[in-house]
Structures are given as C-alpha cells and as structure tokens.
Symmetry: C2
Subunit: 338 residues, 2 copies
C-alpha cells in the first residue's frame, strides 16, 4: 500500500496565514485502475493566487483537486495509461500532495488539464512550474497579447522580481522596450538591474513612487504589467501616457488584507489618457502555451532570458514557503522541492 501526505486547512485564518494554519494528513492510495497513473511530486508551486482560494475552504478540507489551481511538477512512477509512460513528467493541479493517483481523463471541474512536460534537455524540471509553466505563460501572453508592446515603448512591471514579473521585464527588453521594474527590496532591485537586464528599477518600500517614475520615464509610461494592484498601481496609472495599456495579472497587495484595501482613484487618468486596463486568467490562451514555452526555452538557451528560483526543501516546508512568498521574501519563482 502506497501512502501519500497532503496538507489540509487546519484553521480558517484571516490576514496573513501562519504555518500551523496548515496540517499534514496521511492517506493510503488505492491500487491503480486501468488508465490511472501514480505520480510522485518533485516540486510544489506556491503562488499568490492560491491565497485567494483559501477563502472558500472549510476547516479540514483537503487542499487537493483540480478545482484548486495548485500546480505541481510530478514524476510518473507507475502507469496503467499507455499515453503516460512511467519516467515522464507531468504538471497537474492536485494541490499540496507528495503522491497522487491520477486519472488522466479530464474531469468537468478541472481548472487545468494534466500536461505532459516536454524534454527541455538540460533545463531543470522545476521550470515547468516557473518560466516554462503557468507563471511564464502569464508573463508571455499577459504582456504580448494584452499590451502589444512596441519597440522603444516604456514598460513598467510591478512585482518585478517575482515569478511572473521577472519574466515580463525580460520579454519586454527582448521586444526592444525600455523596462522599469518595481520591487520590494534593494536586493531585488540590484538583481533586476545587474542580472536581468532591466533599464531601471526601484524599491517601492523606500522610493517616492511618483518621483521615481517621473525620473525613469519623464515622457510617461506606455505599458504597465500589474501583479500588485492598489496604491502602487494608482501611482503608475497616474504616470501613463496617452493610449497606454495595462495588463492586470494579480493583486498581491490585498490578498492578506483583513480590511477593505483603499487606493487613489484612477478613473480620471483612464479617461484623460484613454487608457485600457484588462485583467486576465492565463488559461484563456491554454491552447498556445506550448508555443510560448518553446520560444522561451530558446531564449533561455541563447542567454536572452534568465530565470531565478527560490526553492525551499522538503514537503513539510510548503506552508512556510507559501507564507514567505506572500511576504515577498522570494526572488524569482517560489517553489518547494519535495
């Protein structure tokens, strides 16, 4: 009998979660039926949007299942499905688990289908939950398909040192834009400028946002890729140029808030500059993810696109990694090596 561990919700927390708001439970996995595969988790992805999903949970709820968007990279250790041979890697949405019996047939409530991970040769498999996974697809499509950045345009990204933001800025640079990153620590700012090729970057916790934006972009901002929302975003929107485009990928500034989060009103800027702001969920472009991953893998191999990862070790440290990521402690993609 194969045993699996999973995290369940121990408390209905408000505000910032604590480590003991999550609890490990063990379960015995049933023998494989025809068509099923046994997957063993290598990496668990911890992402900001997961915080939002906890609002709909009850105490003791197994944080598992395709209705939850918690991506994992899993290795197939045993397979009774000819399309999914043992030894391959898949990405699935089964939550914070170390082992899972999966029926690869899509279920009606699947948010994401099971995805086979192609052989990226010498690239690490953790990238399948990073730059070559959902965060990378969010950066690629959210920037290119919503903002249509043109060479010479000024692109600002918030959460710029995170899993999505760090890729957004580099894609914008590859497309010939002037790139400004907003991040939450001096170390992140240094990395953006010295390692990831951002033209400007500043620390939103110490800089005067309005002044920093006016210095870095004296003629205004054309494109804003937003992972943060709230006050930061109001400051960027106030500094945009006629016809600017805003892509909203996330709103990490509010996920741990217990009160109604307030920010300066932006509608007068939206009118005066005729701005367009669009929120997206990246599954919109699911049928094109492969193409984006292949292009980004090429960029990585050519040295044009760099990735940073903040990988914690050990399944039991998943809540800690999650909480740290919500605090902005990670530089690059936050994940857990099981």
């Amino acid at each position: 009998m194969v045993k699996a561990r999973k995290f369940v919700l121990a408390n209905l927390f408000k505000g910032e979660p604590k480590v003991d708001d999550f609890r490990i439970e063990e379960e015995e996995l049933p023998p494989l039926l025809d068509g099923q595969i046994l997957c063993e988790t290598e990496y668990i992805s911890v992402d900001p949007y997961q915080r939002g999903f906890t609002h709909r949970y009850k105490v003791g709820a197994t944080m598992i299942g395709s209705q939850v968007f918690w991506l994992r990279v899993a290795r197939i250790v045993e397979s009774r499905s000819p399309q999914h041979p043992a030894g391959w890697h898949v990405v699935g949405t089964w939550g914070w688990r170390d082992r899972t019996v999966v029926d690869p047939t899509p279920a009606p409530d699947d948010i994401l289908p099971l995805m086979l991970v192609p052989d990226y040769r010498d690239l690490p498999m953790s990238l399948a939950v990073g730059v070559l996974g959902m965060p990378g697809a969010s950066a690629y499509f959210g920037l290119l398909n919503i903002c249509h950045p043109k060479p010479g345009e000024v692109v600002v990204g918030s959460g710029a040192a995170g899993a999505v933001g760090s890729i957004v800025g580099q894609i914008a640079r590859i497309k010939g834009c002037k790139v400004i990153g907003i991040a939450g620590s001096d170390q992140k700012v240094k990395c953006l400028k010295e390692e990831l090729g951002f033209h400007h970057a500043f620390n939103c916790k110490t800089a005067n946002m309005d002044k920093a934006l006016k210095e870095a972009a004296p003629d205004g901002v054309d494109v804003y890729f937003d992972n943060v929302g709230g006050e930061q975003s109001s400051a960027v929107i106030a500094n945009m140029r006629q016809g600017g485009r805003i892509s909203v990928c996330g709103c990490i500034s509010v996920y741990n808030e217990t009160k109604v989060a307030m920010a300066p009103v932006v509608q007068m800027h939206m009118v005066g500059k005729e701005l367009v702001l669009e929120g997206f969920m990246v599954i919109r472009w699911l049928d094109q993810w492969d193409k984006a991953f292949l292009e980004m893998a090429q960029w990585i191999k050519k040295g044009k696109l760099k990735y940073r990862e903040a990988v914690a070790e050990g399944f039991e440290n998943t809540p800690k990694a999650f909480i740290g990521m919500l605090r902005g402690e990670n530089l690059g993609k936050a994940a857990v090596k099981v």
Copy 2:
C-alpha cells in the same frame, strides 16, 4: 462696433468653485475679415470635464479658445464665409462668450472643429450641445463601441440622470439590455424609472450600493458605463460578471476634491472576472458623430429616446449653472440659454 462678453477666471479656486471665481469682461469685436463669421451664442454647455480644464488656468485668463472644450451653440448672424451662410447654426469651442468672431478654418490647436448643425426640423437647437452633441456622442460611442452590449445583458450606468448617463441607459434599453441606473436623488431615480424606461434605478446617496446591485442584478453586471469613478465604481466592479466591459467617460466624483480621493481597490476583481476597463475621449469617433446624431434624432422622433434638459436663463448665470451641475442639481443636460 460689436461688443462681446466673456467669462474669465477671477480666482484660482480649489475644491468647489464659487460664483465669484468667475468674472465677466467686455471686449469690442473687430470687423469681419474675408472668410470670418460673427456668431451669437444661443446656448452655452456646462459639462463636468470643464472643471478639469480650470486647473491649467491663470487668474485673468480668458476662458476662450479652441484649446478649451466648452461647447456652445451659436447662431451665425453675419458671415463673410460663403460656406457658412447667416441664419445657420454652428457648434464651436470658444468658451463662455456671448459673441465671437470665428475663422472657420481649423487651427492646429483646435480640440474640435467648427461644426455646422443640420436641420433636425422641430427639435430644439439646444440638443446640439446635448443628445445630438458631444454628450450624446459620448453615450452612443462609449457604450456601443467600447462595451458592445448584447440583448439580455445587464448594463449599469452611473451619473444615470445626467446628460450622458440618461442617454446611455436608453440606448442600452433600445439594444435589448436590462438597464440599471445609479443617480444622486430620489427625484432622479423616479424620472429614470417612470420616464426614461430604466428597469431599475437607485439613489447612491441613500442606498447600500452593494445590496442594491445584488438585488437588481443577482447574476452580476455585464456592462458598466461610468461617469462618476471612485467608491461607486468600485462597488459596481465588485459586482460584475465574468468577461464584463467597463467604459469610463468621466470621473465627476473627484473633480472638486482637494485631497487625493481614495476608493476600494478593484484589481482583484479585474483579474478574477477578466474584466476590461477603457477610458475614452469622444473625439476619437469624430468622423462618425453625424451618423450617430441622425440615428438618435430618429429614435427621438419615434419616441424611443427621450431627453431631459436643465436650461438656466441668462449669460450671467453660467457660473451658477456650472457649479450646480457639478453638485448634481441638474436632471438631464445642463446648459445656459444666453
């Protein structure tokens, strides 16, 4: 020698303007040169966006000129331009003046070109600054070209009893939508429901916005046409449905603010529901205004589209009408009969 009166800025006011922040000056008009026309104002349009323009003024500045967007309906009393015969009506952007010598050749800094008003037969000429003018065009194009409302969809409009909002709701109704209006008095709410054919309406000053929206649109809002911005808009955005569209025409809630206006953060709704929000200036569709005015004139004649006007009498009452409009005292289009 023909004399003209014009309003100039007497004080650099902050917050709500007062009547004595404006001062009348007289000037003598020069004799007409070839190609020029002498226009005599019949109606002055007072509109919310004009408040924004005062920020760039200095004391004593003549509030005149094409860089200012203050539309007037003017009758041509004398013409040395064969294309503009005496007796016709034009709409121009010469500010709060009772007489103007106009060179009809477009100047580089014109915001709007001089427009000849077609013969709408028995419709009053004041409509050329109302439903058959810039406010009507804003309603028509801002709703149809940005939000693409479909029959059966739920459309919410803020500032719903104003010059633009009252037309937005009726066009949405004509297009087969369920229409909800948000207005600032019980009298306005009554008018929207009983006279203008809105399906629902409520008073934003007394209703619980969230509760009222959930009652009127239990399955959520598809389209939001926003004239107000700020807290009201955050409440509507929080109640939108997947794939909703938001057109931002104005932001009257902040124009008189002296502090930074704050409102609940909306980015998490923009992401979760994949909403699109776009601000616009209606001159974007200037080449199509004629077509919209003809269609709306037909709707008026067939009784499908009703207009309400709040017309003050007397040139000297222009500041009072302007201030009252900013307070929301008008029901329908605010204008001054000179």
